[in-house]
Amino acid sequence: MTGGGPPIRSLAETGEVLHRPHALEDVALSEVPVLATDLTSAADLALDHREVLGSRLRSVRAVTVGVLAGPVAPALAELADAHDIVVGRAGPGSSLVETSDPEGAVELVAGAVAAHPQASVAAAQLLRFRAYEQVPLGLVLESLTYSMLQSGPEFARGLRERGPMEVPTDRTPPVAVTSEGTTLALTLDRPQRANAFTAAMRDLLVEALRTAAADPTIEGVIIRGAGRSFCSGGDLAEFGSAPDPATGHAVRLARSPAWWLHELARDVRVHLHGACVGAGIELPAFAGTVLAAPDTTVRLPEVGMGLVPGAGGTVSIPRRIGPHRAAYLAVTGVTIDAQQALAWGLVDRIEREPAAPTDP
């Protein structure tokens, strides 16, 4: 085992820990609420521990990490699924984060959890509901979680570290809307801020998507980003500007680009390039077709700000790559490239745009 990481317990040990009368409290209140377990062998796992293990893993207030040195035994597949994140050299194809250094991966998760335990655990707990299976309900649960964290100490610290910022005023509309025959073309158009997502952008996007949904002559919607990157995520300058968490929740669901993208998904094609951060991947992942330029990179930064993804990412992303890989991205905030995004199915094809996005 490498230096600073948490212990990787055997299944028998984890079974024993979670069976203790004070288990939930002890794990929950530990400084770094991470529970890592080697899933390769169920040897010595007591039968009565095994019966409750899945349920305890889903109850515990910790980010649970299953570690696999080799393929998971069929009998243990259910226990692997009960973990928030699964890392290892080989294993269940649709949930595993492949790595030749599982201990290093556990250490990476633990480092992220140590920095933001409340947000990390909330992200993991949110995904345990599998609410993304029903998009409208998944969006509600995500928003509730997000609002809860908006009142927490980790977000307050994130805002302090950011420092005061002026909310920028755009001189031109932040989304350019043009008709290309029967296709509606939307271009995120704040290249000076790497198309950072703002409330004004949200409003224009919803307006355009709503119109596309109402107009039977529009057969498709194409979304692009102007400049070097598709979208660098929520504009940091607007963070902390929601009137209060309860109002934030109401607003998020009343005017939701995520909801509209899901409604229109079949007919929406998104062209990604450059940095696709936070909302910059969470919204595109709802689209029926996601094309990524070779230079595309993807990252979920919200937990690092004391929050969870809030633009629909805990719905759209697990729908594409499953809850375990989504939890890994959300908790660690690691950057993945276009190839990795393609391998996981987060994007559908790697393709360079025939012509660079320009003004109409």
Binding site: E207, D215, S241, A242, T247
Partner: protein, 102 residues
């Protein structure tokens, strides 16, 4: 013209097209001062010009309503003419401004 939700109208003097979002019964809808026509009908005749007093333009994605809001049209293609119904100019109904939720 008889309108109901989903009816599509086209201007004869500019690019404007609208969809009725809320509508019931007979309405005399004009764009740029000229009667709008059924958008599903093939275009016929030369296109005119918007009248000078009805050329404020329409905006894509915006809603236009009459006084008592019994008629609501959604602009799906913008143009140079402005909308009126039953002799009165329609007004742009802005979406409620909402704050950031972050």
């Amino acid at each position: 013209m008889q309108l109901r939700p989903g009816s599509r109208l086209r201007s004869t003097v500019c690019e404007t097209e609208v969809i009725a979002v809320k509508a019931e019964g007979e309405h005399d809808v004009t764009c740029g001062g000229a009667p709008m026509v059924d958008a599903t009908a093939p275009p016929d005749g030369p296109r005119g010009e918007p009248a000078a007093d009805a050329a404020d333009g329409t905006q894509m994605g915006k809603r236009y309503v009459n006084d008592d809001e019994t008629l609501e049209l959604l602009c799906t293609k913008p143009g140079a003419g402005s909308l009126a119904a039953d002799g009165t100019a329609l007004v742009l109904k802005e979406s409620k401004p909402l704050p950031a939720s972050d």
